[in-house]
Each structure stands twice: as structure tokens, then as C-alpha cells.
Symmetry: C2
Subunit: 309 residues, 2 copies
């Protein structure tokens, strides 16, 4: 068997590689796929359709799960915008390499035609920041043991990567790959969810606590990350033809159940997720002979499955 | 001035945002652009053309700087391959989302036609693994003060992000965004540089010390990161038509000086680079009201300029 296609991502079938070799003196750590295969049905959650956005792009569908427990006012405003079809016909306006892909109203921008700005309908134009929240000890918290450069504590709660500061009693979602943030102007209350961005590069953790995070892309990230980078300042597309049109953004709860995606997300407070974290921290197999013994909060993919058994 | 295009990447003109506001009670930290504008000529280095690879893709040119002080045998073998035009006509064969873009010989893979594998010419088929090296105290080392999840020490040396372990006396390049690694099979000596990958997502630091890093992309990353993701296992393209052809890979030193890129890289042991690190650690301006006070080794871009004054 030829394996000239390494390195191998952790979420992928490592069994291909688990050939016994001199270097592989220990039993290979299980792969995420192997651990997921042994997971129990109750370890998976079906996201509330009222928190799921289907963003239809020409190439395919992006599914975003909102995080109303962290940003309730933004979630409500985004639901209003989506319910009233605000995003339909808008566009991907910015792709800045190793940073973010952003979408919204092309006219609501420096070079836009202000006379054509799409009205917000019933949605609010301004919202309180919602950058952090008080630590809710009633909610499950799955801490990581290896520390973090940016925060006193990091881990997972309610299916999202997060950070905590016991000294201030605050917690916040972290700007990991695939997290969806709320673009804003200078004023902290100027974000309303009508322009959103997804992280497509190295986690820009310096944004943490400076911007509101609305949720996470749980399906279709390649449709946002694999786009041509904008050549204008900040990665904005300089010509209308470069922008990728948004066909529609729909709230799953606005669709009949039969038309909703059959998606489940592994509970971040499940034993299988804990096992995946441990396997990734200590990955050892025929290929990875030197386990890191550590893991960064932004290096752990939260498993999502479609059409669950 | 309208600024509905936030967040702003740190490397970009923050001056646009440095409007005095109630929240901005302190003098804004300088931007990388502002600091670079005040840099001295001697703070910039012109990479040795013998260490620069020009990879010509249909959309544009990718420039890679080799790191022979870390991986000398791999650098020498890659120079041989490039000098003998090994990569000309090969292809981008794999783009795995949030992981790597990999290029090489499509036939030298599971589904390839083994009878058509391109010969390596004078290059070696196997090389000793050059995953780490003894810490060279004679070389400049710019340490970062905020710790690291994966290594005892992190910083920069000779223009590359790196990590150190004083306990073992070893140092190694870190798998940050844009770093170029050597694909290999299971055997540690099976990598020879004829298949390389560039990191296009969250730094897969678990690869550190398990793979040889040949260098860093210093120009043209968007041509590697903005590609459609492969839909096959591990992000491999499943059809030949999906692969992006490599027109040519040329060693700058094989070109007449007049045909070489006019590129300079900011010295990582320069005071301007130190100032950029500090400004990024403590970024505060009208938009970023809460500085992280910390920085991850993979969150610092090493400035490159073209056609220097």
C-alpha cells in the first residue's frame, strides 16, 4: 500500500497507516472515526432548528449553528433578518487570506451605493456588544488540560470552543476556525448581524472579547474557505463580478421538518468527545511517532454527522 | 467614513480605524504598516536566491524560502529536483480543508499509474529525517514571552517561527500557516522533497517533530489556500481535471539576476520586528478596546516587501 499522501489529518482514517513498524512499539491511539463508530446515540445532539441557518451558495450549502446562550440578542436579530429574507441576493464581499470570509450587503460598504442599501426590516440596527457572558456553572464545561496562550482556561461548552477567566467570572466563545462573528463598525453597539464573518485561517484569538461570536459553521466550511482571496484592502472584492452571490439564507425552523438537514453534533460533554480529545493529545501510531501530549482548543474538530443511524 | 468591513487584520492599515472615541482613551498602538514605514534598510534581508523557489501556477507565482539551516539535506535534494525541472508539469494533488495543500506527482499515489511515475533524476529517494536540530546558540533567537501550548519555548530564528526544548537541547520549525513541509510515507526516511505541503489552516502543531519542514511560503499563499478543497479521502482530488497544474518550479539562483523577484524579508532579530510583536500583543485602538496582551507564535506574520526602496 502506497501512502505518498501524508500528512494525514487527525479526523481521517488512520487505520490506513497503522501498519506495525519498528517505530510503532505501542498500540496506536484510536482515531476519531473509530471512536465515533463506537459512540452511543445519546452522545449526539440534534441542534434546535431555530438555531440553524442554511446559507445557499452557488457551489453548495453552508450550515451555521447559532449560539444564543452566548449572544442571545444577536441570535434573535439574525433570526429576524433571515426570517425576512434579508440575506437573499446579498453576497460574499470579502475573503482575506488567513483571516476571514465575510458576507453582507455590498452596498453597505465604502464603495457601495448608499442609495441601494437593503433595509433591515424588523431587525434592530444596533445591539449591545455581547462579547462575553457571566460563567454559567449550571452548563456543562469540558476543560482542556494543556493551557492556552490567550486565556486562563479553555474548553468546550454547549458544542462550542470557549474560554474562561475565573478572576472576572466571564466566559466567551473563541475565534477558532469556522467560528462565525458579527462584523461591526467602531462603536461596540454597531453590530447587528447583517454582516457576518467566518474564520478561515489561524485562529485570530486577539479578536476574542472584542467582537460578538454568533455561532459556528457545522457544515460546508470549504465553500467559505476555498474562495479566491479578495485583492482589495482587507481582502474585499474590488469588482462586483468577483463577489459570490448568496442565493438564500434560511432558518431551518422556517422549513417543514422533511426539508431540514439531518444533522447531529457530538455532545462536547460526552465521553466519546473526551476520548477524541485524549486521542488527539496523545496521538501515536506508525506515522506519528512523537505524540505532542498537548492540544490547543482550536485544534479540535467537533464531530458532525449527517443522516444519523 | 464607513467601516462596515471589520474585523481588520493586524497587518492592515489600522489608521483607517484610529478615530478618537470615548473607548479609545489611550494612544493607539502603531500598526505593522506604520512600524515598517519607519524601518531601516539594514533590518531587511534579501534571501539567498539558492534558497528561493518560484512555483508558477496558472493563477500566479508562489515563492518559497527554503530553510537549509534546519533541513540541509532536504534543501539540497529539493534544489536538485528543481534544478532538473522535476516539478514542471506536476500538479497540486490535494487540498484538505483547514489542513494542507499538497503538490507532487499524481502518479506517485494510491490511484496513480505507477508505470508513469516521474523519475527523481539525480535526487535521492530517501533522506534521514530532519525533524529537529541541536539548538544553535550562535544563531539569533527572538523568543516570545507568552508561552505555548505545544513547546517549552517558541520564537523566531533566521526568519522562521520555531520552538525549543532546553531539556533536550533541540529546536524545530513550527507548523504555522504558510510553512512548507515534506510529505513522506510511514518510514521516517521516506521523504525526499518530491512531494511538499503548505499549511493552509489552523496550525497543525501536532505535526511538529514528526515531519521535516523545508521552508515557508513568503509570497503567493492565496494561490495555495484559496483552492477548491478536494472531495476524496484526505482532501485528494479524485479526478485529474480537478488538479491544478504546476507550470514550473524554478530556483531563483538558476535565473539571471534581472529575472529574480525583488523580495526582502524583515529580519526576525530586528528591532522593528520586535516592535511589531509588541504592538500585536498589546493592540489597542478605537476598534480593539481590549488588548489580548499575548500572542501565539503562529499569529505573527513575518513581513515581506517587494521592490524595496
Amino acid at each position: 500500500m502506497h501512502l505518498r499522501h501524508l500528512p494525514i489529518a487527525l479526523a481521517i482514517v488512520i487505520s490506513l497507516l497503522a501498519l506495525p513498524t519498528a517505530a510503532d512499539t505501542t498500540k496506536p491511539t484510536p482515531t476519531a472515526k473509530e471512536l465515533i463508530a463506537k459512540s452511543k446515540p445519546e452522545e449526539w445532539r440534534t441542534p434546535d432548528p431555530a438555531n440553524l441557518l442554511y446559507m445557499q451558495l452557488p457551489q453548495g450549502r453552508v450550515v451555521i449553528e447559532l449560539a444564543p446562550d452566548f449572544t442571545p440578542l444577536h441570535a434573535a436579530n439574525i433570526r429576524t433578518l433571515v426570517h425576512e429574507h434579508y440575506f437573499d441576493g446579498l453576497a460574499i464581499i470579502r475573503v482575506q487570506d488567513n483571516f476571514v470570509t465575510q458576507w453582507g450587503d455590498p452596498n453597505d460598504d465604502d464603495n457601495g451605493d448608499k442609495s441601494k442599501i437593503k433595509p433591515l426590516g424588523s431587525a434592530k440596527a444596533k445591539l449591545p456588544p455581547e462579547y462575553t457572558r457571566a460563567i454559567d456553572s449550571k452548563l456543562p464545561w469540558t476543560p482542556l488540560p494543556d493551557g492556552d496562550v490567550y486565556a486562563p482556561q479553555v474548553g468546550f461548552t454547549e458544542g462550542f470552543p470557549a474560554a474562561r477567566d475565573p478572576a472576572t467570572g466571564r466566559e466567551w466563545l473563541t475565534h477558532c476556525y469556522g467560528m462565525v462573528g458579527v462584523a461591526r463598525d467602531i462603536a461596540p453597539d454597531s453590530g447587528n448581524g447583517n454582516s457576518l464573518y467566518a474564520v478561515i485561517g489561524q485562529a485570530p484569538r486577539g479578536l476574542d472579547r472584542n467582537l460578538a461570536i454568533a455561532g459556528r459553521v457545522i457544515e460546508g466550511m470549504p465553500y467559505l474557505s476555498g474562495l479566491p482571496r479578495g485583492t482589495g484592502p482587507l481582502g474585499f472584492y474590488t469588482q462586483a463580478a468577483q463577489r459570490l452571490p448568496i442565493i438564500s439564507v434560511t432558518l431551518a425552523s422556517d422549513l417543514p421538518p422533511a426539508e431540514r438537514e439531518k444533522l447531529q453534533v457530538l455532545r462536547t460533554d460526552s465521553s466519546t468527545f473526551a476520548a477524541i480529545i485524549e486521542a488527539k493529545r496523545n496521538r501515536r501510531d506508525a506515522f506519528y511517532t512523537l505524540p505532542a501530549g498537548k492540544i490547543d482548543v482550536c485544534n479540535i474538530d467537533i464531530p458532525v454527522r449527517t443522516n444519523p443511524p
